[in-house]
């Protein structure tokens, strides 16, 4: 038979590793951010998108995973971490975002669980969302946390 099918290849399990993912949960309250829990998960971590944003130059928010030498080894864009805004969808098809002062919120970040990671840094413009506008100065480091140890943990 001129059968060139390769059943072995088809039967083979997905060859890519299932790297671990670190899920970090943060709470923002009264202008400060706390790491409240972490979980190490046997699942694929979504990749970084785009070039690494730079402090002062770029706006918005992102997380940086840094090694012992403080080099950024991964970054994750965060849409609206501080719940200082909500998006309202109207039946007429219009979308608008409302900004306001919200005392407390929770957000999660998925990062690759890299052995050389030492810290995670929240970068952004301000934890006081009412100050975020085109007139303000650029972004800076807002908070930094050591990479937590153990499969899972919680500060609460």
């Amino acid at each position: 038979m001129s059968n060139i099918d390769q059943p072995d290849q088809a039967k083979r399990p997905d060859v890519r590793q299932s790297p671990k993912t670190l899920r970090l949960t943060f709470r923002v309250a009264d202008g400060t951010v706390q790491l409240i829990s972490h979980e190490r998960l046997q699942m694929i971590c979504p990749p970084s998108i785009g070039e690494l944003p730079q402090a002062r130059k770029h706006g918005g928010f992102w997380m940086e995973l840094r090694d012992k030498s403080d080099h950024v080894i991964f970054h994750r864009l965060i849409h609206s971490p501080l719940a200082g805004s909500v998006e309202v969808h109207s039946p007429d098809g219009r979308i608008r975002r409302e900004f306001g002062d919200v005392k407390e919120s929770i957000f999660e970040v998925l990062l690759p669980d890299k052995p050389d990671a030492a810290s995670v840094t929240l970068m952004g413009e301000s934890l006081d969302v009412t100050k975020v506008s085109a007139l303000q100065a650029g972004s800076a480091e807002l908070a930094r946390f050591d990479i937590p140890r153990g499969e899972r943990g919680s500060t609460q």
């Binding site: 038979m1 001129s2 059968n3 060139i4 099918d5 059943p7 088809a10 039967k11 997905d14 060859v15 890519r16 299932s18 949960t25 979980e39 998960l41 046997q42 699942m43 694929i44 979504p46 990749p47 998108i49 785009g50 944003p53 002062r56 130059k57 770029h58 706006g59 918005g60 864009l77 965060i78 849409h79 609206s80 719940a83 909500v86 998006e87 309202v88 969808h89 109207s90 039946p91 098809g93 979308i95 608008r96 975002r97 409302e98 900004f99 306001g100 919200v102 929770i106 957000f107 999660e108 998925l110 413009e125 969302v129 975020v132 506008s133 085109a134 303000q136 100065a137 650029g138 972004s139």
Partner: protein, 888 residues
């Protein structure tokens, strides 16, 4: 409020594209669904999934996504709606505490629908630890939703768009592409990939997607006076990626890639956003693989057809494919050897919407010829996208029509002299039904007879029935049935009857050359087995397909033992109950259905009626292209008095004198049945009009009756259409308890050319409950491809289930199939004691007197002399005993 207002039921992986560790996992939660509304929740999830998987570029990345549906029951239906935009405030106690009019920074926002995020995340993590995104669907038709850590949307038809936009933020890090007054717009270059301040084509972050001919900036917002945007001299081409002013909450100096995008107005994702989504999901996509499952196709032992018309069988070349794009498999050579390709020569497949592996099928067909013939060939198929080719060998051979040997094992105990329910004795009903059965059997099949009362005898060894009518075996068997051999007397030993039937079939198989292809035993009894051996002791040694007919009321019949006997041997038990005057031929119909099972015929229709003196009845029934033969049978106490003709779909009339020769038809008249046996098409010269389509059996009373046939005012009849077909239907009932309240499970399956039905079909059961109340239930298709339903037997007695299927064949033609099943419930039904049948002592005495033959003519005469009308007394007692049994 909240978690106390309901409970988590569990999780179903509704889209399974592989292990959670290797896929992107979406978890869907439901809020505001009561337990009774979970089916609606399941439908709402499916609706959302249709939107999700048809939204580019998620369509081509869907193979990398798993979806987990968490069922959560809430105390109340819906969501809180405080009525902040007018209207009456309403509250609903729901598990995740969904509410419209969520307060934000002191202002309630009507369409802002939110849930308790921390609780939702906690439930999602507990149910699906490896979650990437959580969506909560809220059971309200009001438009609303929200984003943030989890996405929320209502069941409003358009609200799924909210969820997808919000997942664009939370899962893919996309920015809003709509403008505004600048509040919330970052000072520098936005970090998000789909919005920018940079209109320089050399440095813009999506510059690889911008054509040289597209002006930069591509469009300025005319409403923005403070902008530095300089309008282009020429307009960009429609759909050209560039920089269009107005994005991320500012109308001025911020730009988006296209005028429209899901992140602005729910239009399709722009190429920049689509690229981000693809890039994010890329690591989750499975590796592509194509695996041929059928290196060769074997049409082994396909039976010869009827009247020279072959039987067509379809088999598929099957590949298991793991793929995200679409792949086309096409035949590039062959098939050689005379094989057909009934479904075309190519097939295109893409990822399965819910399963990790897709099957690609190209169908081949073989039509049988003459017994002993064989054929071989091959076919070469190429995958257009991968350029792989496969050559598949094909083999086929034709064998003679399978022959069946049938042992009728018949009860002749004293109680067979009782009234069947319509003033005719049971034994007479049995004579009519068995006579019709034997008359309709196909030439080449074998018939044998066993009778039993307290002991069993082999009345007639298995013998070829011979021609129809008049074959030697047939004539001998009918002689035994009509004569005194089955006159009722004595007690009941079903077990001995079954032993003798089994031995007779075994002996026949040992002697037959070649052996029969199918052996079947049909046991008819109206009683408890009250003489050894017990059925359970002998059941294991039986190899024949075993059917049983319980003739009478379930309280008098060994239902559990007979059910076990049949269910273990590829057959089933039917219980007649008392026969009524409007269905006097029920026993005959049950026998015909069993005959259909033995000879692998399908029941396409079985209406009944009563012909008046001047009436003409036109009885419709359908045949389809998969049918290759049919028997159109008329059961009647006097078939000789009925003129029966067949009207083909094209209007051609088939009469008793049409064939054989001119037509592929043969008309046979016997004492209790007449029938046409046809191969399809019936008229080879008019093949199209006399094969598939709507047929009519046209019944009229004969004007000139044959000699010896007495005229009748009314002629009751049952018409049964048996078709021999490659579209097969089977239905079984499974009952493990016989108590009142027992559950009976109905299972049916449809196959077309020995593969699962490719067209659509509805399957349902028309239920006749004890007492004549009717009920209908639908059978639903399960994941294994079977149609299933469960039904509770809530009152004592016999339930009949006419399981029917109606659908379309792969060629789009209508077909109908049916099979009748019965179920039984009686008080104490699980503790049937054969030696102590339920009933009063008086009834037992009556039964005993009859079985032992105590009531002789002489005794009757003596009583008469004493002034006692013994026959009437016994009749009254008999009726009383029957009604008691009927009461359960």
């Amino acid at each position: 409020m909240s978690a106390s207002d309901g409970y988590v039921v569990g999780t179903t992986k509704v889209v399974d594209h592989g292990p959670d560790s290797a896929r992107w996992n979406l978890v869907i939660l439901g809020d505001g669904y009561r337990a009774s509304e979970l089916p609606q929740y399941h439908a709402d999830v499916q609706n959302f999934l249709v939107t999700l998987r048809t939204t580019p570029p998620l369509d081509e990345a869907f193979c990398g996504i798993n979806v987990h549906r968490v069922d959560v029951v809430s105390t109340d239906s819906g969501a809180d709606d405080p009525g902040c935009a007018g209207g009456t405030p309403t509250t609903a106690n729901t598990y995740f505490d969904a509410t419209f009019c969520t307060d934000f920074a002191g202002t309630p926002l009507d369409r802002l629908l939110t849930v308790n995020t921390a609780l939702a995340l906690s439930v999602a993590s507990a149910q699906v630890p490896l979650r990437h995104q959580v969506l909560c669907i809220v059971n309200s038709s009001k438009y609303g939703g929200s984003g943030g850590t989890i996405a929320t949307c209502s069941t409003n038809a358009l609200a799924s768009q909210i969820a997808i936009h919000e997942i664009g933020h939370s899962a893919f890090g996309l920015a809003d592409e709509y403008g505004g007054n600048g509040v919330g717009t970052p000072a520098g270059e936005p970090s998000q990939p789909n919005v920018t301040r940079d209109t320089n084509r050399a440095t813009n972050k999506w510059r690889t997607l911008i054509a040289d001919t597209t002006p930069m900036p591509s469009q300025c917002d005319p409403g923005c006076t403070a902008s530095t945007c300089i309008p282009p001299a020429t307009l960009p081409a429609a759909g050209a990626v560039g920089t269009y002013e107005g994005a991320i909450y500012s109308d001025c100096n911020t730009y988006r890639p296209l005028p429209s995008c899901y992140m602005r107005d729910y239009a399709p994702f722009c190429p920049v956003c689509a690229g981000v989504i693809r890039q994010t999901l890329q690591p989750f996509l499975p590796a592509e693989s194509i695996n041929l499952i059928t290196p060769s196709i074997d049409f082994r032992d396909v039976p010869a057809g009827m009247g020279g018309v072959g039987i067509t069988t379809h088999r598929a070349i099957v590949w298991e494919v793991v793929v995200c794009r679409s792949l086309t498999f096409e035949i590039i050579a062959g098939p050689t050897g005379g094989f057909d390709t009934p479904d075309g020569t190519s097939i295109t497949v893409t990822s399965d919407p819910i399963l990790p592996v897709t099957q690609a099928r190209i169908w081949l067909a073989y039509t049988s010829t003459n017994p002993g013939d064989s054929a071989s060939g091959d076919v070469t198929v190429r995958c257009a996208e991968t350029d792989q080719t496969w050559t598949i060998n094909i083999l086929a051979n034709t064998i003679a029509r399978p022959r069946a040997a049938v042992a009728l094992v018949l009860d002749r105990s004293g109680s067979m002299d009782d009234d069947a329910g319509d003033a005719v004795t049971k034994v007479q009903k049995l004579r009519e039904a068995a006579n019709a059965f034997i008359s309709i059997m196909q030439p080449g099949d074998g018939i044998g007879l066993v009778r039993f009362n307290e002991a069993a005898q082999r009345l007639m060894e298995i013998q070829d029935v011979g021609a129809a009518p008049g074959g030697a075996g047939r004539t001998t068997a009918i002689g035994h049935i009509s004569g005194s051999d089955i006159d009722p007397a004595g007690a009941t030993s079903i077990g001995d009857g079954v032993v003798k039937g089994k031995q007779m079939l075994d002996d026949a198989q040992a002697a037959a050359a070649p052996p029969y292809d199918v052996t079947a035993m049909v046991v008819l009894t109206d009683g408890m087995w009250n003489r050894p051996p017990p059925l359970a002791d002998i059941s294991g040694s039986i190899t024949a397909n075993t059917y049983a007919v319980g003739f009478g009321l379930p309280s008098n019949i060994s239902v559990p033992a007979l059910t076990t006997l049949c269910q273990g041997h590829n057959g089933y038990l039917l219980i007649t109950g008392a026969l009524s005057t409007d269905q006097p031929m029920r026993l005959g119909k049950y026998f015909l259905q069993i005959l259909a099972g033995v000879s692998n015929a399908q029941i396409a229709a079985d209406p009944r009626g009563v012909l008046g003196r001047n009436s003409e009845h036109r009885i419709p029934f359908w045949t389809c292209e998969a049918d290759y033969g049919m028997d159109l049978i008329v059961l009647s106490p006097a078939p000789q008095a009925i003129d029966c003709q067949l009207e083909a779909p094209d209007g051609s009339l088939i009469t008793p004198t049409s064939g054989p020769g001119g037509a592929n038809s043969e008309f046979v008249m016997s004492q209790y049945a007449s029938y046409y046996r046809c191969a399809l098409p019936v008229l080879p010269a008019q093949a199209a009009g006399t094969h598939a389509g709507l047929w009519h059996a046209v019944l009229k009373p004969l004007r000139a009756l044959p000699e010896g046939v007495a005229p009748r005012a009314v002629l009751p009849y049952e018409v049964v259409a048996h078709v021999y077909s490659s579209l097969t239907f089977s239905a079984y009932a499974t009952q493990t308890s016989f108590e009142i309240g027992a559950i009976i499970r109905l299972t049916a399956s449809l196959r077309e050319y020995e593969a699962p039905l490719r067209g659509h079909a509805d399957v349902w059961a028309e239920i006749m409950r004890p007492g004549g109340v009717t009920d209908v239930i639908a059978l639903s298709l399960d994941s294994g491809g079977q149609f299933v339903a469960a039904y509770q037997l809530q009152i004592p007695g016999v339930f009949s289930f006419r399981v029917r299927a109606r659908g379309e064949t792969m060629r789009g033609l209508l077909f109908e199939r049916e099979r009748t099943l019965t179920g039984v419930a009686t008080p104490g039904g699980d503790n049937w004691d054969p030696n102590h049948p339920k009933g009063s002592d008086l009834c037992d005495l009556l039964h005993c007197l009859r079985e032992r033959g105590v009531i002789s003519d002489e005794l009757t005469q003596r009583f008469k002399e004493m002034g006692v009308d013994l026959p009437t007394l016994l009749k009254c007692l008999g009726e009383r005993c029957r009604s008691r049994a009927g009461d359960g």
